[in-house]
Symmetry: C3
Subunit: 639 residues, 3 copies
């Protein structure tokens, strides 16, 4: 499967005098852009007061962009309800875990459970779809669900909706009491109307209660989005997308992926490194101008999997909707990218299968919250550094626009509900699901591998040589069967299949995997400064399980306790591996699966795209690899 | 005084099918247990809705346990009021210092000052006592008062009760204004109804105000408990207990000790080390699987003193009601104990005089908040590590059940009100009363000493060779007299007798101790990284006083300032000693008192129990001591 | 200009029995004090209930002080409204950023925007002025505006007043929307009544919104103070003062300086070092008993500039109203000053031009919040350490009471609005305006220079050889002209003139300084551990700008990027200099300006007072300087 790759940008005509729209459009086209996203924050200008629709300027803007040969993604403006909305729905605000309403004055100030606001969102979406449904080339719903910690709301609307959700899920309070084990501390309920949200309890709430609140909250996002999607589809055949963020796990992206043709995400490598990764100061310093070498790739592969959920796809359609083009404004520190990195990030996205990479934003805004967020243009419309790198990519694309995408040899299962379960019941500081999975991903990448991320209900694993299922808290029946059926080497654990769907410890004890005689008889969590040395390479850190059973012991810690055990093609890993132990595990598994690995220099990463192998230098220095010298931020294409 | 020592466990029949109760009871008896505590979280099953009493299952459970030859401690279930209670008393919730009600969904969700809830607690207690008062062998009131920071409540009920308490204490607003020095910042009150709780003030409240709120809050606990005790006594002759926690100082445990026959506490050595001690990472790593070598012993000695407050005791009756048997779930990290430590902890408790050590819990619960808290049995009823160590102790007990208890050569005064005073007015970061007293305790233990902890109103100190009174903020008349009368060496200070009962600086200046011409003319607090070197060994840290007077200077800092001064048998210490300076002080005092000391290896601790000396190895390695090799977690009994 | 220098103290007759007032007054006079400040916390004793005036005791106190030859500063007691005030104005409390009222029980519990309370403040001030306006020698309004973070209030009163302020400032919502760029995230307002305070938004509020709230809040302080000043002037000709604090930048002190004859400040060198400076542990340890060697001098120079705003002054009149005389009670750690430091601090104030240094407090209070705050006397009226040092200064003053004050060779611009702008939009952790300016001040002091601080609307810079304008976010027209007109070397940047008054990025891009062809094309912020090495000495840290233009490049970083550029006498600095690079910049600028510099030992600081040069040793060890040996805390006077 090969695809023409395109570039785009995010543009806010409402921010600039209409007189310059035309020149902007011409410059975009001249730069070699194909797509322009507009509209997602424009509600106050589309409808300055309730019912007072002002869509003409938007139409003129679209016409101008079209006139320059550009295609348009139209965003629904529901992430930024105008101030008058609050007069109509004073209780629409989300409420934080301390009980404080999250007020107007920035963005995302709504509760997903508020019916009144959802109706307003459908109303404006319908109006936009009626007017522009046959005009624009694509849609985006809302903007960055979950950004600014906005999935969990503790409002009255959320409380009512949660009770309904529980009633539908459990049917009787008795069933809920049993499922949650409410007998434990006399937490039994007589009626669903007695159940509050799990915030502000004296000590930790029942983890089953907390996990169900997470499940509910995720479902509310899916419901909110589905309503917009339906409103658009009634009037438009254009594909619909949403722009997800990095390391936001508070809702199930796969559920949304099934609703929309295109998955997109917003890639801010430098901001994410400073803001969202628990790495050492030395690591953050080394990559301060390049970003983490694996974080973007992980999300490319993740959102390719999210996109694949849409039915009837030949191939997964996914984009980078917002690509960092220079310094941003929102991380603890905001350096500029190393020259060449904007180009590298763009090509890396293409190598992982992106259809389009769209730079955020066309022109740096000199006002409001993001004044120090670079654009392709400076506030004075002079070309900024990112502009020139985008231009270089555009030239390269004209010469060679196609990238092939093929199945990877390795599959890694990612599951949002597991992230919630670990967060609700980490059992030890630092025990975080995303971190575990991402460390496994990084370990695979350091061996030169390309990876497919797959969802937790995957029923077929054909074609993979190695399947990794770290930390997946509850195995679905489908996946359990697929893991049994596959010819691939399978690595389960730690904490895989450790809980029931309502977060109890199952009986028989975990992992209870057919054909694998291993029992986790005890769980320990460890101080970060107490790594447990292995008999061979590396250590177990943070999380260690005591394993029993007749399966073959593959690895032992230095004291002789089993750490990994195997029956047939399935290996269970009873601890969180550090980088060295993980490398040992992966090398052995790859060898057994017949998957070739490499010993990459630390800053080099590869991506196999069909017959083409992309090589990326994420380091600040030149690196010799495979007979070539890659400069800093260097990109090579080998066939 | 010698006693037969017993073992027990905590059991929740309501958590398990009735079909397995009998087998459980048999296994408990076979293991060698004597006691089973039940009922303390069972309110929602004893009374599913108000007035709907379901005591029959409890009676059947007791009968089954009795049938197996076990004795029963019945807990009143008042730590976990059911959800329907909130409908009857919506304002019964405690309120945190930020003004947020502490909601239903875990436990301890009540305010001690709420009269309606106290009546409900008395009602259920009375009903239980009527039904089971002649049946069970002992009682427990509520569960772990103060756990989860639940003593201080800022509710409306607390505010009203505090005003009453102040009115009874001071009789007139003018008297209160004088006692608190309210003239200072125009804080005078005209009426008790104007006085709020001391939270949410602009800057720190008047420390006298804050201290009285602490005193009041402690009194409310005593009042709450007394009401339950009275309700039980009306129908039962069985002894009554409460299970205290470690390092909870927010209420006066001595006041409760005077109400009940038995003091018990809940000993979680690994959780406490991670969660409640300010030690270095190196220290926490070294003891991660053994717990702090002095923390449990300190509480054994403390709760022996608390138990001794009950009138008409021949000897103090105290237990460990909950003994950690494996990993717990609630500390920042939760490792498993070193093999042998469960046995060591048990024997250490007996060496300090415990009547019974009861393991928490019988079977690990696979649901709700404490799923990863080990039991003697795993969730699948297989015997866990702790089971085998308990069995070993049971065998040892059958061979040698008796431990003698005698007065120690050293007395250490512990005072809850001093903890409040230091917390309210620390004057420097890290200046904490518990920490000071515990460091002195540790210093004594490192010299091989056994210690009696005594309350702050102790009137007789006969038989002690050394009495330590660190940080006791206000000396009672009784103790002042006893300290004068004793033949023992007395070590006062730092900050001893530094304040009036309402937390003013007294005139003449402290310590104003009869016969001791020492005046603290100035107080300084020091950065942790600014230890003041002594002329001899060690340093003063954190807290340093300037001393004047004609008493003999015993120690000076390197600059020549007096740090300790003595008249007769009383020495005043004007600074917080580090470990080396403390060792010097204690060695000198012991030498003068004729108390033999030892130079113990770092991980070894001793306890003299009559003619028997117990030796414990708290370290992870074997240690040579007194001609023997103690293995890790080793226990030796020398006579 | 030479002045006789005087000493004083802060006295609270209401705290002590009237019987000892006379002896106190005699001792003050004997010590050599001239001034006594009284009354600023006495409201509850001046008016125990509303309208019940008790001024007689105050009159007797003043008479006794006068009788001993002392002069009186009378404070208005409005920082501590009595409890009954809350019954009259229940909504007068300030509200914190979390929405919690800041309650009664300490001090400063009022919102500056509450009209009712402001009327009460004017009422009590008027009553005091009527009674004592012809009797006292000076006045103080309120006490330490801004202490305990009390400038920003999020009350309903503040919200209403903010809306009024916005309406007056912008006249129409449309103008405000344009100025703030509210189109950005559909934040447009239709009416001023829709605008809330900028707290509790989902993510950061519009920085223009936040900055205007800061401007408004500062204006409310000026308005509150002006009302008191007017009330006093109606009945008194005595000069009026306010006692400012250290490093409080939440209101514009220059605006208040213009209202009152005398500026005073409260100098707590040890408390400030521990509490308000972001220095290394090593630095804090070294200066723990001496305080930061530049912090007090900075504020002396700052408040001299604040005082100079009062019209018709021949010279700026400023005092130290509260001088730390020993340990305080409120910092994280509270050590005692090195012997001699109280004297040094006093002489340093005189060297910078103070008229009076007044010690806080006469006698240590044994009750309420500040019990461990030293006085000149101990609680038992014995003379404390500070007393003897004050006595030494008094003797020295009798011998040589005059200090000359002259213009410094260097001017440093300080601007409160810039502090707000940086706080609202720091763009990187650690980027703080006060810190930047203070680091420049310290760099100048280390070269032996004396400095004048000047306000941001300074229109004349005659007589200076060097003018520094670091971080001044918006240049006023007056200052811009003065900087063009001056013959001095001018150093602008980093971030100087970087924003419009409403905090947008201006076009053309900054610094847009006439005659200086430099453009800041990009802003980066850097991790603290990523210093950018310069081609020459030192590094750029935290904040780095990309500079373009035709001005001459003066300094480049090691990669060759311009860091400073010059046209004529104006140099623009595009980064935050570390100490070494700053030293290089300052040495070059001084050389060009013909200003002599010195290579001072690290602990030595100088102050040129006319023909006299003061030399201060801020270190704990003796230092050789200029042919003399200065002992620790040594003061030398060279002519």
């Amino acid at each position: 499967m090969t695809l023409h790759r395109t570039l785009g940008t995010c543009y806010y005509p409402e921010h600039w005098p209409e007189a310059i729209w035309s020149e902007d459009a011409t410059r975009m086209a001249d730069l070699g852009l194909t797509w322009v996203r507009i509209g997602e924050f424009a509600w106050s200008r589309l409808e300055p007061s309730h019912g007072d629709l002002r869509f003409d300027w938007m139409e003129r803007a679209i016409d101008i962009l079209h006139g320059a040969g550009l295609k348009v993604v139209l965003g629904t403006p529901t992430a930024t309800p105008p101030r008058w909305m609050l007069d109509r729905h004073p209780d629409m605000l989300a409420v934080d875990a301390h009980g404080r309403p999250r007020g107007f004055g920035s963005r995302r100030h709504y509760c997903f459970s508020h019916d009144g606001y959802r109706s307003e969102a459908v109303r404006i979406t319908t109006l936009l779809a009626e007017r522009f449904g046959r005009k624009v080339e694509a849609w985006q719903t809302d903007n960055e669900y979950g950004c600014h910690d906005t999935i969990l709301s503790h409002s009255e609307a959320a409380r009512r909706a949660f009770r309904d959700w529980l009633a539908q899920t459990y049917q009787s309070p008795e069933a809920l009491n049993r499922a949650w084990g409410n007998v434990f501390w006399s937490m039994d309920y007589d009626s669903f109307d007695q159940i509050d949200l799990p915030n502000l309890t004296v000590t930790e709430p029942n983890p089953s209660h907390a996990l169900d609140f997470r499940r509910f909250s995720s479902d509310q996002v899916a419901r909110f989005n589905a309503a917009q999607v339906a409103a658009i589809r009634a009037h438009s055949d254009a594909p619909i997308s949403h722009n997800y963020m990095g390391r936001i796990v508070e809702f199930d992206h796969f559920a949304l992926g099934a609703q929309m043709e295109i998955a997109t995400w917003d890639s801010y490598p430098l901001g994410f490194l400073e803001d969202r990764l628990e790495e050492t100061a030395e690591f953050k310093r080394h990559y301060a101008r390049q970003g983490d070498p694996d974080f973007q790739a992980f999300h490319h592969d993740l959102y390719r999997a999210v996109a694949a959920r849409f039915p009837d796809h030949e191939t997964a359609r996914w984009w980078v909707m917002e690509q960092q083009p220079g310094p941003v404004n929102w991380a603890p520190h905001n350096p500029a990218p190393l020259p060449g990195m904007v180009r590298l990030w763009t090509w890396e996205a293409f190598a992982h299968g992106a259809e389009c990479v769209s730079y955020f934003r066309w022109r740096q805004a000199p006002f409001a919250q993001e004044q120090y967020h670079a654009g392709l243009l400076r506030p004075d419309s002079v070309e900024a550094e990112g502009f020139h790198e985008a231009a270089e990519v555009a030239r390269e694309l004209r010469a060679a626009p196609q990238v092939e995408i093929a199945q990877a040899p390795v599959a890694l299962v990612f599951d949002y509900a597991s992230a919630w379960a670990w967060a609700v019941q980490p059992q030890g500081q630092g025990c975080d699901y995303f971190r575990l999975v991402f460390e496994v991903y990084r370990g695979l990448r350091k061996l030169g591998l390309s990876i497919d991320i797959v969802p937790p209900d995957t029923a077929r694993l054909d074609g993979y040589g190695l399947v990794l299922v770290p930390g997946l808290i509850t195995l679905s029946d489908a996946l359990k069967q697929a893991l049994q059926d596959t010819d691939a080497q399978v690595l389960l654990g730690p904490r895989s299949n450790a809980k029931t769907r309502t977060l109890s410890i199952p009986l028989p004890l975990p992992p209870a995997f057919p054909g694998l005689d291993v029992t986790v008889s005890r769980v320990e969590t460890l101080r970060r400064d107490m790594p447990v040395p292995m008999e061979g390479a590396g250590h177990v850190v943070l999380w260690q399980e005591t394993l029993e059973g007749t399966a073959k012991v593959m690895d032992r810690d230095a004291a002789g306790h089993p750490v990994s055990m195997r029956d047939g093609h399935v290996t269970y890993l009873g601890g969180w591996p550090d980088a060295d132990f993980l490398r040992h595990l992966l090398l052995r598994a790859c060898a057994e699966a017949g998957i070739a690995t490499l010993d990459l220099p630390p800053d080099i990463r590869l991506r196999q795209a069909g017959a083409t192998r992309f090589v990326f230098n994420h380091g600040p220095d030149s690196v010799e690899f495979d007979g070539m010298i890659l400069p800093p931020a260097g990109v090579a294409r080998q066939t």
